[in-house]
């Protein structure tokens, strides 16, 4: 009979906060970069030039159909070929961002579809610059549509960041590997990491619900009246 003993992995718990922070910071950075690039990618997907549209469409389909692991390996092994120094963290960041940007483009695109073209024309005729149009016309209107999928994407990034352990980044999954193999207590290490991921993902969920209430609560009340 297996005796469950948290005692056995106690010495490794001190490294857990650092691993958790690595997962979180890698995810947040990925979300930030892919979110910003995603907005512009979505706008470019409506470009009048068909090669631009085609290339972006191809990029999105490629990233949605090729496993993240393969993208990660491609980035990890082509960096040295390009003469850059091999660093697992940057390889993971680039691969995660490449992957997430494709999904971000689709999320923002779904928001833009609901936005009438006249809005852009009206903004231009009012003399708004491109940045002003984005900030005051586009984003406030599409935020409601993209809010829920954006939260799902953030969770997908956190889960995807587990792959960084494959290229020696010391995040949560790597912690499980280290603690498990050193103590031979994979089960206990699994329970700890599973709870850590649950806390991260459900924390994002909770935050999404709360900010959603704050952002749209008044709007919804007004619409009901």
């Amino acid at each position: 009979m297996y005796t469950f003993s948290m005692q056995a992995i106690l010495p490794y718990l001190s490294a857990l906060p650092e691993a958790m922070w690595m997962t979180l910071s890698l995810s947040l950075l990925t979300a930030l970069v892919s979110g910003v690039v995603g907005i512009f990618g979505a706008l470019l997907r409506r470009s009048r030039l068909w090669p631009v549209r085609f290339l972006l469409g191809f990029y999105v389909e490629a990233m949605r159909n090729i496993p993240l692991l393969i993208v990660l390996y491609l980035v990890f092994f082509s960096l040295p070929a390009l003469g850059m120094r091999l660093d697992g963290y940057y390889a993971a960041l680039i691969a995660l961002t490449l992957n997430s940007t494709a999904y971000m483009i689709e999320i923002f695109r779904s928001g833009l579809i609901a936005l009438p073209r006249g809005q852009f024309e009206a903004a231009a005729s009012q003399g708004l610059t491109g940045a002003q149009t984005l900030r005051f016309v586009v984003l406030p209107q599409i935020l409601r549509t993209i809010y829920a999928p954006l939260g799902n994407q953030l969770i997908a990034i956190v889960i995807g960041s587990s792959l960084a352990s494959v290229v020696t980044v010391g995040e949560l999954t790597a912690w499980m590997g280290t603690a498990g193999s050193a103590s031979f207590r994979y089960f206990e290490a699994f329970v700890v990491v599973a709870i850590a991921y649950l806390v991260l993902c459900q924390g994002i969920n909770l935050l999404r619900v709360i900010t959603g209430k704050l952002l749209f609560g008044r709007l919804e009340k007004a619409m009901r009246q």
Binding site: R64, P67, I70, V71, I155, V166, F184, A194, C201
Partner: protein, 215 residues
């Protein structure tokens, strides 16, 4: 270069077939568990509903790589059995697919209007007849299209089985890479193969969806 890699085409093909097969297995087993958990989530009992919700949120939040490490290394120590990479990979893919399929099946069952349930009861159907002739035929049309998406997700996740040494498409590629030393070419071939497989499945999925909408 290409003539050199061409002699390994059998490895790539076998790997691709293994990938398609193990993902299909994960999807099917996941759908069976998913159907049970979906019934829990729709049950009248609050405890069952809560258990179903906890199940889904748990396996949605835990990365597949963590599940793989656990089932390959952890379960072997707990159960005192040696799980093969195949069993460990199938188990992990099934657990992750079951969480996704629960939500798909639940949405399918919920899409059948209340009136259909009431009408079938009023017509004196037994529970079995109700499911067989009224609810399931209508729910399946809502369930199948998103299941194709789940299949693609599982297929992409199955590449992680390479980490525990299960020889599917990704691992086959890594083995050929080790044998030939042609790093980027081999990885590019693997990427293209995954793209072809998944893109074909999603095209077939949209064709299926169109047929379901017309029917």
């Amino acid at each position: 270069m290409s003539s050199n890699l061409l002699q390994y085409s059998g490895y790539f093909l076998n790997g691709a077939l293994t990938t398609i097969w193990i993902s299909w297995l994960g999807l099917l087993l996941g759908a069976v568990i998913g159907a049970l958990v979906a019934l829990m989530r729709l049950s009248r009992s609050r405890v069952l509903r809560l258990l179903g919700l906890v199940y889904v949120e748990t396996f949605r939040s835990i990365p597949i790589l963590v599940l793989l490490f656990f089932s390959y290394y952890g379960l072997a120590l707990v159960l005192k059995v040696d799980l093969s990479p195949f069993v460990a990979a199938t188990l992990s893919l099934t657990l992750s697919a079951s969480a996704m399929m629960t939500e798909v099946i639940r949405a399918g069952i919920e899409s059948v209007p209340r009136g259909q349930w009431e009408a079938s009861r009023a017509a004196g159907m037994t529970a079995r007849q109700r499911w067989q002739y009224v609810i399931l035929p209508q729910a399946v049309r809502v369930i199948v299209p998103p299941s194709v998406g789940v299949y693609i997700m599982v297929l992409k996740d199955s590449s992680l089985a390479a980490i525990i040494g299960y020889v599917e498409l990704a691992k086959a590629g890594l083995l050929v890479r080790d044998a030939t030393g042609q790093n980027l070419q081999v990885l590019a071939i693997v990427a293209v193969l995954y793209f072809i497989i998944n893109y074909s499945i999603s095209l077939a999925g949209s064709a299926l969806e169109r047929r379901f909408h017309i029917a």
